[in-house]
Amino acid sequence: MTTQEAAVLGRAEEAPAPRRRPRSGRGGAGSWVVGAYSLLALGIMMIPIVYTIVFSFNDARRTNIVWRGFTLDNWLGICDDPRVCESFGNSIIVGVTATIAATILGTMIAIAIVRYTFRMRTLVTVLLFLPMATPEVVLGSGLGSQFVNMGVERGLWTIIVAHIMFCISFVVVTVRARVASLDPSLEEAGRDLYASPGQVFWRVTLPLLMPGILAAALLCFALSFDDFIITNFVSGNAETFPKFVYVAASRGIPPQSNVIASAVFFLAIILVVVAQLSAGVRRRRLAKAG
């Protein structure tokens, strides 16, 4: 899943704005140029993806560069090359753990920043944006050397810690917008209707923030799953999927990694389509009922 897809999913979660229908261009040289340009741009973007998908069906020998014929073996035997599955599993472990931790922490920070005044709030806000602004190479090398200096053995846990760190910024930014747009009288209504502060949070505040939190979590998972640079510095011997692919690229990438890449791509597309469809259905139901 890519960052853009996560962003699309996040938007689909929130109430989607009614899409404006583009003016139907009838004739004219302009529309031809735009059409051709769009096709070209789409084509360039799609070529690597199509290549990856097609070659996941290649009957590869040592390398997966030349087309040798169609086979389903790669899809049926994903774990034939154990390193593919192991690194993929690691990526999932890292992604899920980092997402859960960063989403919980980031949501709490976002609520605190919007709702409460506390000492050094401004400093905290600035610090939160730093990881987004700092080049990953700097962040990764800095973290890596810190781990070495402190004598921390690098592995899955150091990857998770690093991913939580850069994910928190994105979670805070996403959730904070949602907190800020929350009508404060809704929480007041909760308090007025005999709900204790805890009940107001769990039954009113959190459900209303949920779309933002989900979008943040998806974004975080996508960032974590994609990340190579920081991971490379802090991973030690542990291998994540992007790191495995990078290392394998010099010796010949096993076709199973194409399978995994394709599967992730399809999964992301399906998620986006389902989200859009369900939003459409909800909208139509609303329109019919209203």
């Binding site: 709702r115 409460y116 709030r121 404060p184 007041e188 209504a189 909760g190 007025d192 005999y194 709900a195």
Partner: protein, 398 residues
């Protein structure tokens, strides 16, 4: 309180309540008692402190000084969810992620009331919305949402129901309908209603007692007719309906009437209807109490006459005609004349006199203008947003 309802409405008592926000005072030493079972309206313009009063009673704000008692029990320090009070918010504040039914059940479930579901349906039937119980609030019209908000509050049988301009967002027809509905619900369930509004007509038609609030203080309190017929201050005279006000020296203070020199004419006001009986005073009369004459009327006891003047504007409104009369040396006088015959009684530019019976006049207690200025607070939502804004400003500053 948990698991049971209050038997009936309860008294509300505010003792010396003051609320200061950074930079302005919203309420200054407010004393107010609202008897159980009454429909009480706080009426005033934006920024008069009426909404702050409501929020203090609900517990959403804490008073700077003073005490709040509900049913004789002090609640000043208790949290909103511990008070036997429910609010119908101006923005309705229905939970968008819950169905209408879940919204109505919310308060009951938090208090652990046994048959919450049945009670919620009953409350929805009361506002004739049981058929939309499974819908989301966003699928309802404004009027329906308003009724759900009402049901959500009433279902808890609070000792005191607070209404924060809940009819403000509705169109005129729907508002009339809701006003009647509110009134009948109040009669049915016997709660104490505290209704905050800037709509004088709404306050007058619905409330048993109206308190006119201005700049954090109550100007005058009483039954709607009393407030209208005998306003005590200039603010009340102008805020509740229209008034013709004249200022002059008292020239004679008799045993049953006070005579005031208005443009050289002696205008009488009944002594018991005048707040002050000496010095410079402001007196007034309602426009519909005035009679228009095209010839100088004969002087008679018990009738005040002003004139001659000129009609500078006449607008026909169907039931009545509104005339604006300019008498030299006086502010423009407004006259509402019933259209008893066809067409207007007099044309624009005609020379006229106005007269009224002495007992219809009133004398005001002209109080010096308080110096303090107050910021506008329209509704609960604005205040909540303001609070948020202050926090955000602090964030930006630092």
């Amino acid at each position: 309180m948990a698991g049971s309802f209050d038997e009936s409405g309860a008294d509300l008592e505010l003792v010396g309540v003051t609320k200061r926000f950074p930079g302005f005072t919203a309420i200054e030493n407010l004393n107010l008692t609202i008897p159980a079972g009454s429909f009480f309206a706080l009426l005033g313009p934006s920024g008069c402190g009426k909404t702050t009063t409501l929020r203090l009673v609900a517990g959403l704000e804490a008073p700077t000084a003073g005490r709040i008692l509900i049913g004789g029990k002090e609640v000043t320090a208790t949290k909103p969810h511990q008070r036997p009070v429910n609010t119908v918010f101006q923005s309705y504040a229905l939970f968008p992620h819950m169905t209408v039914l879940a919204n109505v059940e919310f308060g009951l479930k938090r208090r652990g009331i046994a048959n919450a579901l049945a009670l919620a349906h009953e409350a929805l039937r009361l506002v004739e919305l049981d058929h939309v119980a499974s819908r989301r609030p966003s699928q309802l019209s404004g009027g329906q949402q308003q009724r759900v908000a009402l049901a959500r509050a009433v279902v808890n049988r609070p000792a005191l129901l607070l209404l924060d301009e809940p009819l403000g967002a509705l169109d005129l027809k729907l508002r009339r309908q809701m006003q009647l509905e509110l009134k009948s619900i109040q009669g049915e369930v016997g709660l104490t209603f505290l209704h905050v509004t800037h709509d004088q007509e709404e306050a007058m038609t619905m409330a048993d007692t109206v308190a006119v609030m201005n700049k954090g203080r109550i100007e005058q309190m009483g039954a709607p007719e009393e407030l209208y017929e005998l306003p005590r201050t200039t603010f009340v005279a102008n805020f509740l309906g229209q008034s013709n006000l004249f200022t002059g020296e008292v020239v004679e203070s008799g045993s049953d009437a006070v005579t005031v020199d208005i443009a050289g004419l002696g205008i009488k006001v009944p002594r018991e209807r005048a707040q002050r009986h000496a010095g410079e005073v402001t007196i007034g009369v309602r426009p519909e109490k005035l009679t228009l004459h095209t010839r100088k009327p004969d002087t008679a006891a018990g009738v005040n006459i002003l004139g001659p003047g000129v009609i500078i504007d006449a607008s026909f409104t169907g039931v009545s005609t509104q005339y604006l009369v300019q008498v030299p040396g006086l502010p423009v006088i407004t006259v509402f004349a019933q259209n008893m015959a066809f067409g207007p009684v007099a044309e624009q530019g005609a020379e006229v006199w106005v007269s009224w019976r002495v007992e219809h006049g009133f004398g005001l207690a002209d109080e010096p203008e308080p110096e303090a200025r107050f910021a506008a607070d329209d509704d609960t939502r604005t205040i909540a947003v303001q609070r948020r804004q202050r926090l955000e400003d602090e964030l930006d500053e630092a």
